[in-house]
C-alpha cells in the first residue's frame, strides 16, 4: 500500500482509483451539484384520525446527505414512503428533477406514480425493518436491484444461451463492483435470510445502489447495530455520497452520526417540520432542542 502511494503522484493515483475501483457510475442523476433534486411541498398524509404528516415542505439538493430526524412516530418513515410511492399523500406535491442526456431539464410528479415507476426514475431505498428477498442469495438480491436496467424476455430467458447470458454477465459485473464496495465478498452465495442483521442492512444498501440511484433513501440504516458496524455503515454512506456523488436522504436516531454525516437536516415532530437547516443551525435552533434534542446539546 505505502509503495503505491509513494510512487503515484496525485493525478496518477486518481487515474488508478478510477480504472481499478470504479468501472461504473453509481449516481444516475445529472442534476448539477447544489441544485434542487427533490422538492417536497405542503405534503399532508392522514391515516384515519392520525395526521402522520402536516404540510411538510423541504428541498433536497444534489450531492447532499440530507438527514430527516425526529422522535419515534414523527412521520419520518411515512415521508420516505410518500417519496417512493408506497403511501399516497392526500395533499401536496413531491417533485423529482432530472436532466436528460440532451441536457433538457425534466420534473417528475412522484405523487401520481406507482412505486416501480418511481424506482425506474432512480429513487432507491432501504427499509427500516429489513425487507430483503429472504429465500434468495445475496447475488440474486443484488441482481434484482439491476432489474429495471435489464431486458425482460420470457423466451430469451428460457433459451439462456445468447442474449440472456450476455446480459447476465454485463450486470453481474456491476453487482460485483457493489459487492467490493460494501465488502460483501464472503457472502455472495449465502441466502440472505441466514445472514447476520448487520450484514443484511449492508445488503439492503447494496441492492439500492444496484439501481444506480438518482436519489438514495435510507431508513435507519444503522438501527440495532453495534458501534463497529455503525462506523462501517457510516463510512459506506460517506463513500457513496462523497466519492460516488449519490444524493442521500438519511433517517437516523444517533445524533452524533447525523451531525457528522449530513449537509442538511430536516426535523419532524408530530408530522410537522420544526426545523430545517445546516447541522450547526439545527443544534442552535431552540425549538428543535426543546422538542427533540433535549439537554445534551
Amino acid at each position: 500500500m505505502s509503495v503505491t502511494s509513494e510512487l503515484s503522484s496525485g493525478a496518477e493515483k486518481e487515474a488508478l482509483v478510477r480504472t481499478r475501483a470504479y468501472r461504473f457510475e453509481l449516481n444516475s442523476s445529472r442534476v448539477a451539484v447544489g441544485a434542487p433534486l427533490l422538492e417536497v411541498a405542503d405534503v399532508s398524509l392522514r391515516f384515519g384520525g392520525i395526521r402522520a404528516l402536516s404540510e411538510v415542505s423541504f428541498t433536497v439538493r444534489q450531492g447532499d446527505i440530507h438527514a430527516v430526524i425526529g422522535p419515534n412516530g414523527a412521520g419520518k418513515s411515512s415521508m420516505l414512503n410518500c417519496v417512493s410511492g408506497l403511501y399516497r399523500p392526500q395533499r401536496g406535491t413531491i417533485a423529482l428533477h432530472s436532466v436528460t442526456e440532451a441536457d433538457e431539464e425534466r420534473t417528475h410528479d412522484l405523487v401520481a406514480r406507482k412505486p416501480h415507476q418511481i424506482a425506474r426514475l432512480g429513487v432507491a431505498r432501504s427499509f427500516q425493518n429489513i425487507e430483503l428477498f429472504g429465500h434468495l442469495t445475496l447475488l440474486e438480491n443484488l441482481m434484482l436491484g439491476r432489474h429495471s436496467h435489464m431486458r425482460q424476455s420470457v423466451l430469451a430467458g428460457m433459451a439462456w444461451f445468447g442474449p440472456a447470458r450476455r446480459q447476465e454477465i454485463e450486470h453481474r459485473e456491476f453487482v460485483e463492483e457493489v459487492i467490493d464496495l460494501l465488502q460483501l465478498q464472503a457472502f455472495r452465495h449465502a441466502h440472505v435470510g441466514s445472514l447476520a442483521y448487520g450484514v443484511q442492512k449492508r445488503v439492503e444498501l447494496g441492492r439500492a445502489l444496484c439501481i444506480e440511484p438518482a436519489l438514495l433513501l435510507l431508513d435507519e440504516p444503522m438501527a440495532g447495530m453495534n458501534a463497529e458496524e455503525k462506523e462501517d455503515m457510516a463510512r459506506f454512506i460517506l463513500d457513496v455520497s462523497e466519492l460516488r456523488g449519490v444524493t442521500t436522504m438519511l433517517i437516523e436516531h444517533d445524533m452524533g452520526v447525523v451531525m457528522d454525516l449530513s449537509d442538511r437536516i430536516t426535523v419532524l415532530d408530530f408530522g410537522k417540520v420544526i426545523g430545517d437547516g445546516r447541522p450547526d443551525e439545527i443544534s442552535a435552533n431552540e425549538d428543535v432542542v426543546k422538542a427533540y434534542l433535549g439537554e445534551e446539546l
Binding site: 429465500h135 440474486e140 432489474h147 430467458g157 433459451a159 441492492r207 439501481i211
Partner: protein, 353 residues
C-alpha cells in the same frame, strides 16, 4: 472419482452458471441418461404407459411450481388449464387439420392467455381468497367443457387421430416406445426451459414478488406484470402437458380434468418441494406412483379379504391424504430437500455437522 463432491469454486461466471458443475454432478447426469435410455426396453407396456403419463405430469408440475413455488400464487385451476391445452390442440389438429407441432404450439399460447386472464384476481387477492378464485376458474372451465357440444363427437368424447408429423407416424406396435421418446424430449426441454427462466430477470422477479412484494415494487419490479406473466408462463407449461395428453391418450373428455386433478398437482408440488424444479419432477413421479403401487399391492390382498376389495378407492384416497399430511408435518420442503440432505450427509461423512 466419487458420485458426490466436496467444496466447489469457480473461475468464471460461465462455469458458475453451468447447471452441472462438479464431476459428481456430471456422473449422476450420466447415470440418469443411461437409466432413461434402457428404461423403456426393460419394462413392459403397462409400466411404460405409466412412465409416459409421469412424463406428462412432470411438465404440468414444473409449470404449476413456477406459479405456486416460485411466485407464491396458489392455484387450484390446474385441471382447467390442462383441459384448455388438451381441447385446443385436439380441435386444431382434428377439425382444423393443423400439423401436430403447430396445434400443440397454439395450445400453449391459448392456455397461457387463458391462464393470464384467470390470474387477474391475483392482482387483488392473496392466499385462501386467491385459492377460491382459481377454484372458480377450474369449475367454469370444466362446466364449459361438459356442456359445450362442440367439444364432443356427437355423444362420444372427442377422439384424436393417431399422431403423425409429416412422414413420421406412431405405429400400433411401437406406440409406447415412440411416445416415450417424444414425451421424454418434451419433458427434458420443459425442465431446462424452466430452470433457465428462473435464473433470468423474469424468474427472479417472480421470486421477488413471492418473498417481498413491497420491496419488489420499490426496486422497480412491476408486481402486476410479474404476477400476470407468472400465470401465463405457468399455464403455458400446463397447456403443453394438456396438449400432449390429448395426443397420447387420443381421447379428450372433461372427466380427466376435474378438481381432483388440480389437487393431485398441488400435492405433487408440495411433496416434491415448493420452489424447486427438480422437486416438481420428484413430486410428479412420486404422486403418480403412489396410487399405482398401492393398487399393485392391494389387489392381491383384496382377492383374499372382502372389505379391502370393497373399499379400495377409499383406501387409496386415505393413503394419498396421509402421504401429503406426512410431508407437511415432517418435511415441508419436500423430496428435493430430503435428497439435498442425504447428499450433504454423505458429502460430509464421517463428520456429522
Amino acid at each position: 472419482m466419487s458420485a458426490l463432491s466436496t467444496g466447489t469454486y469457480f473461475t468464471s461466471y460461465r462455469r458458475e452458471w453451468a447447471l452441472r458443475r462438479t464431476r459428481a454432478e456430471y456422473l449422476r447426469l450420466g447415470l440418469i441418461v443411461v437409466g432413461l435410455a434402457v428404461l423403456p426396453y426393460s419394462i413392459d407396456f403397462y409400466w411404460l404407459s405409466i412412465v409416459n403419463m409421469i412424463l406428462i405430469a412432470v411438465i404440468g408440475a414444473v409449470g404449476l411450481n413456477i406459479l405456486i413455488g416460485y411466485t407464491g400464487q396458489i392455484s387450484l385451476g390446474q385441471g382447467g388449464f390442462l383441459a384448455v391445452g388438451a381441447f385446443s390442440s385436439a380441435l386444431l389438429y382434428q377439425r382444423a387439420e393443423l400439423p401436430a407441432p403447430i396445434s400443440i404450439a397454439c395450445a400453449v399460447v391459448i392456455t397461457a392467455a387463458v391462464g393470464a386472464f384467470f390470474g387477474l384476481p391475483a392482482l387483488r387477492l392473496k392466499g385462501l381468497y386467491l385459492a377460491i378464485a382459481t377454484l372458480a376458474s377450474q369449475e367454469i372451465i370444466v362446466f364449459v367443457a361438459r356442456r359445450w357440444e362442440f367439444l364432443r363427437d356427437g355423444s362420444a368424447p372427442l377422439t384424436v387421430d393417431r399422431l403423425h408429423i409429416g412422414g413420421f407416424e406412431i405405429t400400433r406396435e411401437l406406440f409406447e416406445w415412440q411416445w416415450y421418446w417424444i414425451l421424454l424430449g418434451c419433458a427434458a426441454l420443459s425442465v431446462l426451459a424452466a430452470r433457465n427462466l428462473l435464473r433470468s430477470p423474469v424468474g427472479r422477479s417472480f421470486m421477488a414478488v413471492r418473498d417481498q412484494d413491497i420491496a419488489a415494487s420499490a426496486i422497480g419490479v412491476n408486481v402486476t406484470r410479474a404476477k400476470v406473466t407468472a400465470f401465463a408462463v405457468s399455464s403455458g407449461f400446463v397447456g403443453f402437458a394438456g396438449a400432449l395428453l390429448a395426443h397420447y391418450t387420443e381421447t379428450v373428455t372433461w372427466e380427466s380434468f376435474t378438481l381432483q386433478v388440480s389437487i393431485v398437482y398441488v400435492a405433487m408440488v408440495i411433496v416434491g418441494g415448493l420452489g424447486s424444479v427438480a422437486g416438481a419432477v420428484y413430486g410428479a413421479i412420486f404422486m403418480s406412483l403412489v396410487p399405482v403401487l398401492l393398487t399393485e399391492f392391494l389387489v392381491p390382498v383384496a382377492g383374499a379379504v372382502d372389505w379391502v376389495s370393497e373399499s379400495l378407492p377409499a383406501i387409496e384416497n386415505a393413503v394419498f391424504g396421509l402421504v401429503i399430511i406426512g410431508f407437511l408435518l415432517f418435511e415441508p420442503r419436500g423430496l428435493d430437500r430430503l435428497w439435498q440432505r442425504s447428499k450433504d450427509y454423505f458429502r460430509f461423512w464421517p463428520f456429522r455437522y
